[in-house]
Structures are given as structure tokens and as C-alpha cells.
Symmetry: C2
Subunit: 236 residues, 2 copies
């Protein structure tokens, strides 16, 4: 289908190489656009979008330019059109079926969280390793046994799973998920997961986030003290 191009090295027509940093911001833009649309705004300039997202406007324009030329010079971006284009780029014009493993405090909170459906996801199953919990009703789902993992993944065509088990169980669960065909994992367990190539893992870790805050907090305090002791060393 594709005809030959003179310089052979790079792969493609439109060059679908969107930087990872940009991809991580597309969901933020998507949410802001949804908010603007709800408030009846029809178009928005890069400055307005920047204000709504906390991103600098040049960066925002560059990010959007990777998706194509969806703006109009002198006017800005059509809110609804851009919203759709970003949703399409991310792949959330349809809902993805998601499975949650580990129905403790956190897993339960996640399963109750209402924001999924409006953001491109639908929780289709809750699994827990504790046989005593199996069968328990939670919202409109029932907790399933880990034994049913393969059949659920197959039946619901699940490719994205959330792990909310204790850290000690996480790697075992990942191995079973991967074996069942899951290829994207969001990990809340505080442990490093190893997966075969082709499987993506993202990690959310509360303690890490707090520790990063603590680091800066400590410097703030120190800075104050230092400033009081010597006026030559200034820690901002």
C-alpha cells in the first residue's frame, strides 16, 4: 500500500511519534476541555487553555501541534472539536473494560469511584485472593475468585487491570494477569513489578509522593533557619 519514500530511515507519513511528556498531558487537556464545554465555551485560545490546565501556553501549543493543526489562527481552538480529537488520540472515545485485583480499602474505594465511566473506563470485575470475600456484593458487581481470572479476561476482553493488593502479592498477581492476556497495568502496590516486553506498567505510590513533598518541605524549613544564621547563604 505505502509507496517508497526517498530517505528511508524514519517510518511514516505524518510521523506518529508523540513525545511521552506530551501524552502524559493530553488527559489534562481533555479534562479541561470537558469543563469548558460544560460551561458553554465554544472556542478557547491557547492562553485560556493554559490557564485552565496550569500549563504554559507555548508548551500547550506545541503539544497540540503533534496531533495536527486543529486550531485557527487569530481565533483559537474549537472546544468540542479539539476535545474529540484528543479523546480519539488517547483512545477513549469508547470505554475500556477494566478489572481490579485486590479489594481491600483501596480497591473498594476505586470500585466505588464514579469518575471512571465519564473518562473512558468501565469496571467489569473485582477479584480478590481471599476466598472469604468471594461472592460479596459491591455496588453492582460481585467479587470474583482469582480462579476466574482467565475466563473473565477472555469474556470481557480486558486488556487493562488495576492492582490494589498488598505489595507481597503484587508480582504473583501480575504474572497471572499477563498470562491471561492483560497488557496494561496500573499498580498501587508498593513494589517494583517485572513484566515481559510489550506490557506497560504505571505506578501510583502514595508514600513516594509524600516523601517528595517532605524533601521540599525540609528545605523550606532549613532555608528559613539558614537565612536567620547567615545572610550570605540564601536558599529559595
Amino acid at each position: 500500500m505505502t509507496h517508497m519514500r526517498p530517505s528511508a530511515t524514519p517510518p511514516d507519513d505524518v510521523d506518529r511519534g508523540i513525545p511521552e511528556a506530551t501524552i502524559a498531558r493530553l488527559p489534562i487537556y481533555l479534562r479541561a476541555l470537558t469543563g469548558l464545554a460544560e460551561r458553554g465555551m465554544r472556542t478557547a485560545s491557547s492562553e485560556q487553555l493554559a490557564a485552565a490546565t496550569g500549563v504554559n501556553s507555548a508548551k500547550l501549543r506545541k503539544d497540540l501541534s503533534y496531533l495536527g493543526s486543529y486550531g485557527t489562527r487569530g481565533v483559537g481552538y474549537d472546544v468540542e472539536y479539539l476535545r474529540y480529537q484528543i479523546a480519539r488520540e488517547i483512545g477513549v472515545t469508547e470505554d475500556w473494560p477494566v478489572l481490579i485485583v485486590g479489594i481491600g480499602n483501596l480497591g473498594q474505594a476505586l470500585s466505588n469511584y464514579g469518575g471512571f465511566s465519564s473518562r473512558g473506563f468501565r469496571i467489569v470485575a473485582l477479584l480478590d485472593g481471599d476466598p472469604a470475600r468471594v461472592g460479596e456484593q459491591l455496588g453492582d458487581l460481585v467479587i470474583s475468585s482469582m480462579d476466574d481470572l482467565d475466563s473473565i479476561v477472555a469474556r470481557e476482553a480486558v486488556s487493562i487491570a488495576v492492582i490494589a493488593t498488598p505489595g507481597s502479592a503484587a508480582q504473583g498477581v501480575v504474572d497471572r494477569l499477563v498470562a491471561a492476556g492483560v497488557t496494561s497495568i496500573l499498580n498501587f502496590a508498593p513494589s517494583v513489578l517485572t513484566v515481559p516486553p510489550g506490557v506497560d506498567v504505571r505506578k501510583v505510590d502514595l508514600s513516594i509522593e509524600l516523601q517528595i513533598l517532605a524533601y521540599h518541605e525540609q528545605r523550606k524549613a532549613h532555608g528559613g533557619t539558614q537565612l536567620a544564621v547567615s545572610d550570605e547563604v540564601v536558599t529559595l
Copy 2:
């Protein structure tokens, strides 16, 4: 105290300018070292630490080099010593008092999460805007009213707070927290917060993480299809 140095521009003796990317990884190293220490390991090479953290060993060495020369050539790092040095650098040799605002599903899960105390944090109060929840016992804490925010922050010397309210309430809560003297905020609400300079905000957003996974997942699927249609376009 500090004597003059010839080139005046940069500020300090040891140069306390640790890159942000490095700071974000220190907690990962800290956790890995705690794990290794628990398993009785006394020293660890950068390769071993790299394996335990999922970070490449050159990066790890460079990261550690910003803290000082804590390794021994030909041997590696003393696990316990390095663990302490990192904890000190992060500022978690003592516990930080933390306050949680918004005791819904998520806030409740966070307040029940046991991993805080071992990682440098102690939850000292739970606040909720709903008067009906005030007074409710949760673990060994009782939910307090938002009216008590100032006195709690002052009494417990809180500088770090977690926001787990609905998005619509988040900015209002932030304003009150900042007014009360809180200078670091971990935000779970899906909204962009604006704070005065000197206040740090970090954001944890479930939907964003899932959407980033969805983006890559979509490409995997697409790649498969393209590969089947044309053997010239290869999407890895």
C-alpha cells in the same frame, strides 16, 4: 561564616542542587534498601540496587553521587548506612504529621492505610466538610469539622496535607489549608489547584494514569492490525 569564593555566581560548598528527577527516585531507593536490609543484605552494588528498583545502574550511581560519596569502590554501598543517608536527605528520619481532608471512599482508604508510619508520616487528623460525618470514629481518629482546621494545624504543627475531596471542593479547601499555614499538598481531587509561591502541590490522578495506559494500549492494537494489512509499516 562562609568565606568568599572566587567565582561568585553559584551558592554553596557542597552544591545542594539535587535534580528534581533524582529526588523523585530517592524514595524508590529508600524502599529497596529497606527491603534488602530486612532480608539481611549488608552491602549492595549499584547493579543489585538497580535490579531491585528497576532503574538503570549508571543512573542510580549518578543519583547517589549527588548525595555524596557513600559507596566503596570494588565493594558497593553499605545498605544500612545508605538507607539512613537517603532517609536523612529526604527528611524522613522523623515522622511528619499529616492531615487528610475529605473522608469519602478514598480518604477513608488512605486513613486506614498502614504504610505511612514506616515511611515517615503520621496521620494526625481527618477533616470533612459534611457536619453529619463529624464525630465519627475511624480507626483511632475521630473526624473533625473544617472549623477546627486552623487550631489543628497550629496544635499539631502540620505542614503537609492530603486532599481527597470531590473536585468541586478542592480549591476552597486548598485556600483554607494555605491560610492555616500548610505548605505542601498532595491532591487526589481531579482539578487544577492554584496556590501562592512557596506552596508545593503534587497530584495523583487515577483517570489520567489509566488514560496514559489506554493511549499505549490503543497503539498496540493498531500496530497489530497495521502489521496484518501491510508489512512495510511496522509499529513496535
